[in-house]
């Protein structure tokens, strides 16, 4: 069997809407036989927390579909972010879309390597206790060893 293709993903965002692309792409590629590594940096680290608390808001996201048009000023009111996150999660569940927790677990089962950016951990004074136990910690230079050989590299 010829050498598997490689997919490298750099995940830099930590909101609920941005959490889906890296895990769906990674797990699907792994299912298709790719070797996959995801480098989580900056807000991407949020996706590696043991207990996920991902949020989403339309504020600053004019492309987010809304059932009714809400003026931007109202989108900033207390409780709106919580409400929008709740609505998004409800919709995902209704449409049988896997949760991020599930996708993350399936990705790891499919041998997708999850790597936390050590520099970001230090920057925000995080500790390794905050994150999943079975992940790697590394810097960009280390990740380039894999990314440099990758057939596909995605920046999310």
């Amino acid at each position: 069997m010829s050498e598997p293709k490689k997919l490298a993903i750099i995940a830099t965002k930590g909101s609920l809407d941005w959490a889906y692309p890296p895990f769906i792409l990674a797990s699907t590629a792994a299912a298709l036989g790719y070797e996959v590594q995801i480098f989580f940096t900056f807000y991407g680290l949020e996706l590696l927390r043991k207990k996920l608390d991902l949020k989403v808001t339309s504020l600053g996201n004019p492309a987010m579909p809304m059932p009714v048009d809400v003026p931007v000023m109202l989108q900033a009111l207390p409780g709106m972010q919580f409400f929008m996150t709740h609505m998004m999660k409800k919709k995902l569940k209704e449409k049988n879309v896997a949760s991020i927790e599930q996708l993350r677990e399936l990705s790891q089962e499919a041998e997708v390597k999850l790597i936390a950016c050590q520099m970001t951990v230090d920057l925000f004074d995080y500790t390794t206790d905050d994150f999943l136990d079975d992940i790697d910690y590394a810097g960009a230079a280390t990740f380039f060893e894999f990314a440099g050989e990758a057939d596909i590299t995605l920046y999310i």
């Binding site: 769906i24 797990s27 699907t28 299912a31 298709l32 036989g33 049988n96 399936l106 499919a110």
Partner: protein, 76 residues
């Protein structure tokens, strides 16, 4: 309708779950055995031929059964 050795019901699961679960099931199977996957996800009609093509397994059959899609894959 082809005979099959194992069956996986991935009904009511959205992309990419049917493919992921199929991969998991196939990894525990012996070479030459077949797996039948049932799905309701409309995207799976394109996903499963692509999956078979890229992983080197054979898509023996792709049919519709009522409101579900049925795929029989042979592990190579």
């Amino acid at each position: 309708m082809s005979m099959f050795d194992h069956e996986l019901d991935a009904s009511n699961l959205s992309c990419p779950l049917p493919i992921l679960k199929a991969r998991k099931a196939l990894s525990t199977m012996e070479s030459g055995h077949t797996l039948r996957v049932l799905t309701t996800d409309p995207g799976s009609q394109k996903d499963f031929p692509a999956f078979a093509h890229q992983t080197g397994h054979t898509l023996v059959e792709s049919t519709e059964e009522g409101d579900k899609f049925s795929f029989v894959i042979r592990k190579n």
